[in-house]
Amino acid sequence: MDNLKEFHNPESLKSALELLAQPGEGIYPLGGGTSISISENKKIIQLVNLDNLGLNYIKDKGGRLVIGAMTTAQDIIDSTALNDISGTVLKKCAKTIGSQQIRNAVTLGGNTCGLFVWSDMPAMLLASNAEIHLASKENERKISAEQFFLKHPAQILKKGEICIEVSFPKLDNKYLGEFIKFSRTNFDKTIMNVCVFFYLKEKKIRGLKIAVSGCISLPRRLKELESKLEGNAMDEKLPEKIIKEASVIKENLNFISDMKASKQYRKKIFETIILDAIMGTVLFS
């Protein structure tokens, strides 16, 4: 960041939004800082630190879990409020992020709005029908995770707009859920993330949500796969069905290549990781 000239530490959301709304380019919000600190982005001229705005909280608001954007992965892991299946799955997701020191710094807002290919939380937010709460100097708005992740956040967020919190519905006890991060080592960046939620009614899959990230350029719900598996019995034929249907759907996905794995490898493992996620809910619940 050779061109970084000013660093702001505002102490209210209003001040932060006013700073971010200044005319001109080059004014960026700073969350945990784990990506920006090693960034070589020469466009960054001013940084607005969001750490002192009181956006670190986890609340149970009558049926919805509401998490402030500056809540760290470790805060999520430590939370006693996240005690339903969606909260449990989010905790599991947070535990897969980086190493201990990284989990102490990475924030939900940064993981959502930075949306690096390796960001782990977006798949869970998609599968849980989360809502992203955005704010700017002019107004506030809420957007579904599904809408938010249609494009890269840089194309969704307006100038000076930041995420201030994320919420998702609590799920009752009938639901099962799983999050799998497939990576080379314990704290390496992801090769593929999968998050699933569903419940069983008369031993059949109902309310299935499947989301993937890390293997394609943007996180995505696999609605085609959901519709193929909805209503299927949880029996000995299900694994074969999952493999078969996922193998068909993956032909329409654009897998990515990076240092961690080739697109060919990601395509090869795709249906296996999805199988592990769905069957893991039953085997390890």
Binding site: L4, N9, S99
Partner: protein, 167 residues
């Protein structure tokens, strides 16, 4: 810009550039126990404790530390009066070249400050961001277990914190 923070219980006002990392600033302030390994948040040699939590100082912009309390390896013990963790690492044979050790000890300290009797899995999780090319980690995990036991037995542990200013 001026940065006001606390380093090893000493209040400091430091002149920094906005783009400097905490690692750079700490080493400029002569806290040489904070090591630059990879500079990219992979190795953990730069680990410090910030408001009770282990963090990688190469991934923190110094400006983020306004008003925060930092503990470096210099702040937990001295050669004459080492922290129980430092004693335990030496006694267990957990130190070879030593480069990763300050960061590893601070990760362990952050754990033991929060969890008095951690299970092996918790120790491994707490140290999972500290790479060591020498030892294979077995002795380091043993050292943390031993330190936890010693701290429990000694009740508060024994350590000295440098109060005098570094000149």
């Amino acid at each position: 810009m001026k940065l006001n923070l606390i380093i090893n219980e000493i209040k400091k006002e430091i002149e920094i550039s906005p783009d400097e990392t905490l690692l750079t600033v700490l080493r400029k302030e002569r806290y040489y126990g904070v090591k630059k390994g990879c500079g990219r948040g992979e190795c953990g040699a730069c680990t410090v404790i910030v408001n009770g939590r282990a963090k990688k100082s190469c991934l923190i912009l110094a400006g983020q530390m306004e008003g925060k309390s930092i503990t470096t390896i210099e702040g937990i013990g001295t050669a004459d009066n080492p922290h129980i963790l430092q004693e335990a690492f030496v006694s267990a044979g957990a130190v070879q070249c030593g480069f990763c050790i300050p960061g590893m000890i601070l990760s362990a300290k952050a754990l033991l400050d929060k969890t008095k009797n951690p299970a092996e899995g918790e120790i491994k999780s707490a140290l999972d961001g500290n790479l060591c090319r020498c030892t294979g980690y077995v002795k380091q995990i043993e050292a943390v277990k031993a330190a936890a036991k010693m701290l429990k037995e000694n009740n508060a542990g024994k350590y000295a914190v440098k109060k005098e200013k570094i000149t």
